[in-house]
Symmetry: none
Subunit: 429 residues, 2 copies
């Protein structure tokens, strides 16, 4: 167990215990786990695990004791109300062996709060003025229950009020600053976020294992979402040294799979494509069949997209393909509406009829119906046409349900344009 009263190179580790009957019965959605984990991760703390238990789970004291063995900090939310079935206060006192006493300041704040609410204060309520004899409390400007810190010297047990509107400001205004001072924290990790598209998480994982396995202390996490993968590399912060080591890792991946890397940092693919068009002062139009507007919706989700996006045609019927996008009816008869030939003419048509530098077209079978042996559900043709007349069409085979296929189509369409704008080799699916 690291003595955390002095700064240590290993991250401060914590466990979360959320009390909430309504979460266990699916009536309420927990907000504390994402909020606390995000807030504490950014301070450099590491979460060992989270638990959700019932409101007056008699084992709470045991759970806290157990969690204190491995964790530097144990945080319990909820159960700080005035009634007897609010057991968190007593459970933490029991688990830490630290008693409680009525605190004059806490009592004063409690009385003022009731006064401001114009409500009489019962003796029950007075229990909310009990604070650890060894530790401190956080004032609660948004409720009656203060936050409690039971301080064991090398470990802490913290109790926070259950309502998010009370807990969240208390965490940001009181607990976070307290923990930073208590543990001499400065952001203890440097991290780089890389965003890939059109490359499977397992392929990326394989490259990371092969090329970065030897990097000491490297923390890698990846998050995959329908055609895109966000990869985060983190290293303990030794200043410039860590900075350079991270940079080297990024360069290694860039050398291996750089073409699939569409952004460093928190940018989306539609932002990247947008900024490329903006730089070139070029405009874009879309022609959508199976995506039905999803591509345009993605592009226009970016503020200021009107600088480079003109608009598009949602050509769900063949008539609209031929009438609004000048697709040759023979092409549809010969090759079908889901064909590279049709996609190419749709892209060129969007370019021309919407007077844009670039036209991107998507036509495919999103399912669940409409698949054939030759063109099963998931077959999607994507084409990019330029005002100068060049057209590139590709056929993809996506898997998953209708929405997954549509979203993957949008990612691949944006990436196909991105690669052309950057003169990168195109993918042959």
């Amino acid at each position: 167990m690291s003595d955390i009263s002095t700064s240590s190179s290993t991250p401060v580790q914590y466990t979360l215990i959320i009390t909430g009957e309504e979460i266990l019965s699916g009536k309420r959605i927990d907000r504390h786990i994402p909020f606390l984990n995000k807030t504490l991760y950014d301070l450099g703390l590491e979460c060992l695990g989270c638990r959700v238990i019932g409101d007056s789970d008699s084992t709470l004291s045991e759970l806290v004791k157990d969690a204190l063995i491995k964790s530097d900090v144990v945080i319990v939310t909820g159960g700080l109300g005035p009634t007897l079935d609010d057991i968190t206060r007593e459970a933490l006192s029991d688990a830490t062996g630290i008693g409680m006493e009525e605190n004059p300041q806490a009592l004063k704040e409690l009385q003022e709060r009731f006064a401001s609410m114009g409500r009489p204060m019962t003796d029950n309520n007075k229990r909310q003025a009990l604070v650890p004899v060894q530790g401190r409390f956080f004032s609660n400007p948004n409720g009656t229950a203060p936050g409690l810190v039971f301080d064991l010297g090398n470990k802490l047990a913290v109790a926070l009020p259950g309502p998010p509107r009370e807990l969240e400001p208390m965490v940001l205004d009181a607990m976070a600053p307290f923990l930073m001072e208590r543990f001499h924290l400065k952001k203890v990790f440097r991290s780089a976020t890389l965003r890939f598209c059109c490359l499977g998480e397992s392929n990326i994982d394989a490259v990371v294992r092969e090329k970065l396995d030897a990097v000491p202390d490297l923390r890698v996490s990846s998050l995959s979402h329908l055609g895109t993968v966000e990869l985060t590399l983190s290293l303990p912060d030794h200043g410039l040294e860590a900075e350079e080591a991270l940079h080297r890792c990024v360069e290694v991946l860039r050398a291996e799979i750089g073409d699939y890397l569409y952004a460093e940092g928190q940018y989306t693919l539609e932002e990247i494509v947008g900024s490329l068009l903006k730089k070139k002062k070029e405009t874009l139009a879309v022609a959508e069949s199976c995506t039905g507007g999803l591509l345009g919706a993605a592009i226009t989700s970016i503020p200021g997209s009107s600088d480079y996006f003109n608009g598009g045609v949602i050509a769900y019927t063949n008539t609209i393909k031929t009438e609004c996008l000048d697709v040759d009816p023979d092409v549809i008869t010969t090759h079908g509406a889901v064909s590279e030939e049709c996609a190419a003419q749709m892209a060129a048509g969007a370019c021309k009829s919407l007077n844009s530098d670039w036209g991107v077209a998507v036509t495919g079978i999103a399912g669940p119906g409409g698949g054939t042996g030759a063109k099963p559900v998931g077959t999607v043709c994507i084409a990019v046409a330029s005002r100068k007349g060049a057209v590139e069409a590709k056929t993809w085979r996506f898997f998953g349900a209708r929405e997954a296929i549509r979203r993957r189509s949008v990612v691949s369409a944006l990436d196909q344009l991105r690669r052309i704008l950057l003169n990168l080799p195109s993918i042959n699916p």
Copy 2:
């Protein structure tokens, strides 16, 4: 420990273990705990607790063993991928002492899946065809990893795939029916789900409090999402009696706010509008400015939407509004592109140029830029035009960020058409 192989009056108790590094680091918000708890609660199961742990937490096997002492069922999500750090399979095998073997059917489904993806299957992937020698597996139509049931006779350990789009259908289609049969469960609650749009959650809540407060044992939960509210009313199942009591509650709300009630059950607004058009054998076209395709994307998210949806024009520029939708340039000069006049002409233009029975148009200021004193960010004009020439245009003032404003616009546009198709009075925002 209740022997759950025979039906028991005490509820079947379960523990959830969620694996997910990104949840501990606050990068991703867990969806499994609310989804699984709500689903299983409605089956009459009782959750003893939930845990969130890291992806390859070596203690998983111990945690499962420990949870199996108190729980009839232990459910673990995630960690079923093909790579070696996907440890859930082995951890459950170890915790239950039940071995695994390659299952021909599972292997066949896996091979078919890879074939459909047009991707080669590595030996790694073959691990995903391993199933418990004592138990069963759930097929995964949306991914490669099947669900696994390790069956101890009086207890179960279940492994489910991590991605929600794989887990959720598997739970509803396979796990829930399996558990109901296995434990001789009948739904212990009857519930009715009502879906409202364009009416605030607090307004609905107020009506519920005023009108349904006296109904004994009534459980009400509501879930609000950008312009729509899903309200669930539940009563303990006393057969027909509960059925009738629920029906009366629904009728009370229908009488009060029935116009805002677009569906009973799990239907979406786009499904409802689609089925109305289908019944009338009428067709729809859209003209989108600030939503940029989001309305078309919503409509085409429904399988079979090609039966009634022709397509649309994404008119992000004024030129496209005038050239592709016959909007009078003077209208834009006089009233602006964000005006009921412009919206009306866009809707009529979509109707005419895409030869449809109905045209729906959206033009507005989604922000963050572009707002003025007279037309602040969130000002959105929505119009519905019919082939016969009638047009109805409304101006809304939405709050929130760009995406929220765009999504609320889509909901209001669909609802405006819904009310016209049903001859309901239109909303005056």
